[in-house]
């Protein structure tokens, strides 16, 4: 992978925190545009984490896709030191309910491939970010999934509908405050005609 600090320098408002590229929510569109202009990045994953009690500082995610046992041992010391400061209770940032949205890229230009993570902290009450489907078509399905399961809206899309859940599903299940509707574990005997018809 190209050096992350060089990438960060080429992207507006980006800073490197513990191996992640962190971008403020307002600047996300420009940052992604910048990344696209750099070229050679494949968007392969978008994920979100719900933090109703506020976000801890960005974690030093081991950014190698995998590591040989030796490399793993060598890298062991770095994350361990950062861990205590990362606990939600000790976080220096004010506890704002938020979503951590991560875009993950694979650098296709270099021989050694690595994961580049772009992290955005977005407001939990008003979770809207611009869509990147125009830059990377791969984002189309990924954004739909994030909206479906986590309820983060991607503006500027042609279509925003549920992809995994059925269209009349209420709520976004991966949010921490989602309560699944209770159901009977073993319902009445299925031979009963009424039960079978009402079973849906």
């Amino acid at each position: 992978m190209r050096d992350i600090t060089i990438i960060a320098a080429a992207i507006p408002a980006a800073e490197v925190k513990d191996g992640l590229l962190v971008v403020p929510a307002k600047e996300i569109e420009g940052a992604l545009d910048g990344l696209k202009r750099l070229g050679g990045f494949m968007l392969f994953d978008i994920s979100a984490v719900d933090r109703p009690t506020g976000s801890p500082a960005p974690q030093p995610a081991a950014s190698t896709p995998g590591a040989a046992p030796g490399a793993l041992a060598a890298a062991a010391s770095a994350p361990a030191s950062a861990v205590p400061g990362a606990a939600p209770a000790q976080s220096s940032a004010p506890a704002q309910p938020c979503f951590e949205l991560s875009y993950r890229f694979m650098d296709m230009r270099e021989k050694a491939k690595d994961v580049l993570t772009l992290r955005v902290i977005i407001d939990r009450d008003h979770p809207v970010v611009p869509s990147v489907a125009r830059l990377w078509p791969a984002a189309d399905v990924l954004e739909r999934e994030v909206w479906d399961l986590m309820g983060i809206e991607f503006s500027g899309r042609l279509k925003q509908e549920r992809i995994l859940l059925k269209s009349d599903f209420v709520g976004h299940p991966l949010r921490k405050d989602f309560v699944a509707p209770k159901r009977e574990r073993f319902p009445s005997p299925s031979w009963d005609r009424k039960a079978a018809e009402g079973g849906l």
Partner: protein, 177 residues
Amino acid sequence: MELTDTGVGLPAHGQSEPSTLIKGKVHDGIESILDFCRGNSLWPVTFGLACCAIEMMTAGSARYDLSRFGFEVFRPSPRQADLMIVAGTVTDKMAPLLKTIYDQMPEPKYVLAMGGCAVCGGPFADSYSVVQGVDTIVPVDVYVPGCPPRPEALIDGILKVRAMLRDRKLKERPFNA
């Protein structure tokens, strides 16, 4: 497949009262022969849902050879099938479609719940989107537990349907349940 038109069924055997002519021994004899034949040619509908579908395919392949018993005729159209093997997790989104496919099958029809998910929801029973057992939607004749069951277990399950048919144990079953 979304077939919106629901089948208008002519009366199947047992659904309506058999006419007085063929009541009694004659009717019983015909039914025995029919049940024997049904047991020997249970054609499953091609309907794989999840992991168990792979084992279902394996059961049909050369090593386990479902065809020995005459069960290898996987019919893609539910109209021509006798047996629905529910092989895998049934989700809320899939449930109405599964019911539709069941409705499209002509009587007499049998359902085999294959694997933990189809039996009771299996490891996903606590999920927000998984149906807790296919017997909440359609009547199940034979349950084959396992995650996934081996192909031998599936074959044994189908043979159980056959045995029940031979022993006339499915006789009293209400149709269109």
